[in-house]
C-alpha cells in the first residue's frame, strides 16, 4: 500500500551538505502499524515528512496505493491530505482560537464537506473527550490536546495516519493512554506510521524500522501485543 523506492534527501551544498536519507527503500501493507526508531538526527522526521508529502525527496519514488505521490503538485497534495493521509504532531498543532470540536471540524471545512458535527462529536467521544468538546486548547491538558489532534486526523477518514513522536511531550501515564488509542485505531484497520524513540512504545507496532545516519539499519516484524497495558 505504501512503498518507498531508493529515497534520498540531501540538504545544503558543498561543505554544508547533509544527507538526511540515503537511498531508503521500505514498504508497508494496508493497515500496518509501523514504528520508526533511531537516535536524533537519524532522519526519522524527514522520513515521515517525505511519506506525507510535507517534504520532497532529492531522489527516489514514493508510492501510495500504487500511485506516485513524491512528484505531485500543490493541488494534488491537497487532495492527498483530504482523506488519504492525516498527521498527528508532537506539538499537537491545534488552532488556539478554536474549540476542540471546531479543531476537529477544520479538515471538513477545507474539503467543503457539509456540516458533520455529529461525526466530529462521535469521534471526540471515541477518543475520550466527549465532555470537553467546547474547550479551547489552552484549557486542555497535553494528553487532551493530543486526543483532539487524533480526532482531527480521524475525521477525514484517512487510510494512513502519520504520527511524529505523538507522546514525546507527555508523562508515561498519559503517553500510555494515547498509545492505547493508537493501538485501538490500528485494530480498527487504520494504517499508522509513528516516529518514536521509546522502544516500549515501538513494541506495540507490528513493524519496527531502525534508522541511523539516514539508512535503515534494522527492520523487525512482530506480533501485535494484544493488551494495551504497560
Amino acid at each position: 500500500m505504501l512503498e518507498l523506492r531508493e529515497i534520498s534527501k540531501i540538504y545544503g551544498d558543498g561543505a554544508a551538505r547533509v544527507v538526511a536519507l540515503d537511498k531508503i527503500s521500505f514498504s508497508a501493507d494496508q493497515g500496518n502499524f509501523t514504528a520508526v526508531m533511531g537516535p536524533s538526527g537519524s532522519g526519522k522526521s524527514t522520513f515521515l515528512n517525505i511519506i506525507g508529502g510535507l517534504d520532497r525527496p532529492s531522489s527516489g519514488e514514493v508510492l501510495l496505493e500504487g500511485n506516485r505521490i513524491d512528484n505531485l503538485d500543490e493541488n494534488e497534495l491537497v487532495d492527498i491530505r483530504r482523506g488519504k493521509i492525516a498527521y498527528v504532531f508532537q506539538q499537537y498543532h491545534l488552532l488556539s482560537s478554536l474549540t476542540a470540536l471546531e479543531n476537529v471540524l477544520l479538515p471538513l471545512v477545507f474539503c467543503g464537506a457539509s456540516e458533520e458535527e455529529d461525526k466530529a462529536l462521535e469521534i471526540l467521544e471515541k477518543v475520550g473527550l466527549g465532555r470537553r468538546t467546547g474547550h479551547k486548547p489552552s484549557q486542555l491538558s497535553g494528553g487532551e490536546q493530543q486526543r483532539v489532534a487524533i480526532a482531527r486526523a480521524l475525521v477525514s477518514m484517512p487510510s494512513l495516519i502519520l504520527a511524529d513522536e505523538p507522546t514525546g511531550n507527555m508523562d508515561r501515564k498519559t503517553g500510555g493512554e494515547i498509545l492505547r488509542l493508537f493501538t485501538q485505531l490500528h485494530k480498527e484497520g487504520h494504517g499508522i506510521i509513528m516516529v518514536t524513540h521509546d522502544p516500549e512504545i515501538a513494541s506495540f507496532a507490528n513493524t519496527t524500522v531502525f534508522l541511523q545516519d539516514g539508512r535503515i539499519v534494522k527492520k523487525t516484524n512482530q506480533k501485535v501485543r494484544r493488551t494495551g497495558k504497560r
Partner: protein
C-alpha cells in the same frame, strides 16, 4: 462551520493586531470622507450664492428693428413685433426647459422641474406718484427670489392682495391693510418686503391674473424668468431650444458669475482629493506592513491549516476575509472620523460653512476601506501560500 467563521474567531483572538491594521484604513478613509464632506459643503455654499443671482434664463418678446428705406434714403428704424409674450407659449417653454434638464440629468420625472415665472410690468400711478406694478405668479416668483423676506404682514395669498417693496412702501406711505386703486380695481397691501438692494425695493407686486384684468392685458406677459438650477443644467441649450421652436420670443441665458467660483472649487476639490489619495496609499502600505507581520506571526497556524487539507486558494480566501473584516471596521470608523474632521476643519476652510452629514459617503467609505484592505492583503496572502508545512513547524 465555514471558513469565514474560522477567520472571525481568529480575528477576535488577535483583536489588537487587527485593530492596528485597521488604523491605516481608518486614516485613509477618514481623509477622503473629510475632504469630500468639506468640499460638498463648500459647493453647497456656492450653490446658495448662485441662487441669489435669481433666474438663469430670461424670455422676452422678440423685437426686430427694421431699417426703413426709400430708395437710398433712410427713413429711420421701425420696431416690429409685440411688446408682450402670449401666455399660450408658456407650456411650450416649460416643455423645452424640462425636457432638456431631464435629458441632461437622465431622469424620468414627469412633474415640473424648472421654475417658470411669468411677469407683467405696468407703469401706473398710485396717487400722484408713478410706480412700477409687477404682476407675478406668487409661488413661482418666490422660488426664484429665494432671498425675499416679508418684513411686515404676509406674502401674497389672495388675488386682491399686493406685496410692496421696502422703498415703494416708504414713498407711497403704504401700511398693511391699505387699499390701492389700480385702474379701478382695489388691491389691499398684504405685506411689505425687507429691503433687497435691487429694483424690487421700488416695485409693487400683485398676482399676475389681477393685473392682467385690471389693465385689460389678459393672456399677456412682459417677460418670463426661468430658473433651472442644477450642476448639469444646460442653460444655453434650453435658450437655443426656445429660440428655435417658440416663435416671437427671444431667450437669453444669464451669465452666472458663480460658475467661475464653482470651477475654482472643483479644482480645489481635485487637489485635495489627490492629497487624500496619497494618504490612502500611505495607509495602504501600513496595512501591507501589518498584514505581513500577521502572516509571519501565523506561519504555524497557516502550516496547520495546510496540513489538515487547506489549499493555497483557501489560505488566500482566509486572508481576504480578514481584509474584508478590517475594511468594514475601518470603513465605519473612517466615516465617523472623517465626518468629525469635516465638522472641525470645514468652518476653518470655508468661513460660515455648515457641514452636513452625508449618508451616501458611508457607502463610499465602506467600499473604499474594503478595497484598500483587500488590495493591501494580496501580497501578504501570496506570501502565506508559499509557506511550506514542514518548514512552518521546524521554525518553532
Amino acid at each position: 462551520m465555514k471558513l469565514y467563521q474560522v477567520v472571525v474567531k481568529d480575528v477576535i483572538r488577535r483583536k489588537r493586531r487587527v485593530l492596528y491594521a485597521t488604523l491605516g484604513v481608518v486614516i485613509g478613509t477618514a481623509t477622503v470622507v473629510g475632504i469630500l464632506t468639506v468640499a460638498r459643503a463648500g459647493q453647497e455654499r456656492i450653490y446658495n450664492q448662485l441662487e441669489k443671482y435669481g433666474p438663469n434664463l430670461a424670455v422676452i418678446p422678440a423685437i426686430n428693428n427694421l431699417d426703413m428705406k426709400l430708395g437710398d434714403v433712410s427713413l429711420g428704424m421701425l420696431a416690429v413685433g409685440d411688446n408682450y409674450v402670449s401666455e399660450e407659449k408658456l407650456p411650450m417653454i416649460r416643455q423645452i426647459a424640462d425636457g432638456e434638464i431631464r435629458k441632461a440629468l437622465k431622469i424620468e420625472d414627469k412633474g415640473n422641474i424648472a421654475t417658470i415665472a411669468p411677469k407683467l410690468y405696468i407703469n401706473t400711478k398710485v396717487g400722484d406718484t408713478s410706480v412700477m406694478v409687477v404682476g407675478v405668479d406668487p409661488q413661482e416668483e418666490l422660488k426664484i427670489k429665494t432671498w425675499w423676506e416679508v418684513n411686515q404682514g404676509k406674502y401674497l395669498e389672495q388675488q386682491d392682495q399686493a406685496l410692496v417693496g421696502a422703498i415703494a412702501a416708504e414713498i407711497l406711505k403704504l401700511n398693511i391693510g391699505d387699499v390701492i386703486p389700480l385702474n379701478g380695481t382695489n388691491i389691499t397691501v398684504a405685506g411689505i418686503l425687507e429691503e433687497t438692494g435691487s429694483n424690487d425695493d421700488y416695485q409693487v407686486f400683485v398676482p399676475i391674473d389681477t393685473l392682467q384684468k385690471a389693465f385689460s392685458r389678459e393672456g399677456l406677459v412682459s417677460s418670463v424668468d426661468i430658473r433651472a438650477l442644477c450642476n448639469a443644467c444646460p442653460v444655453e441649450i434650453i435658450a437655443d431650444g426656445i429660440n428655435k421652436d417658440v416663435p416671437g420670443v427671444r431667450a437669453v441665458a444669464v451669465k452666472q458669475i458663480a460658475a467661475t467660483e464653482m470651477g475654482m472649487m472643483e479644482k480645489m476639490s481635485k487637489f485635495m482629493l489627490t492629497l487624500a489619495g496619497i494618504t490612502l496609499a500611505v495607509g495602504l502600505f501600513g496595512v501591507v506592513n501589518t498584514m505581513m507581520t500577521s502572516v509571519n506571526e501565523r506561519i504555524k497556524d497557516i502550516g496547520i491549516m495546510r496540513a489538515v487539507g487547506a489549499s493555497r486558494s483557501q489560505i488566500v480566501k482566509a486572508f481576504i476575509y480578514e481584509a474584508i473584516i478590517i475594511g468594514i471596521i475601518g470603513g465605519i470608523f473612517g466615516y465617523v472620523a472623517g465626518t468629525l474632521l469635516a465638522y472641525i476643519a470645514g468652518p476653518l476652510v470655508f468661513e460660515g460653512t455648515t457641514i452636513a452629514l452625508v449618508p451616501q459617503y458611508f457607502a463610499l467609505a465602506l467600499v473604499l476601506a474594503i478595497a484598500v484592505a483587500v488590495i493591501a492583503t494580496v501580497y501578504p496572502a501570496f506570501r502565506a501560500t508559499q509557506i511550506k508545512v514542514a518548514d512552518s513547524f521546524r521554525s518553532l
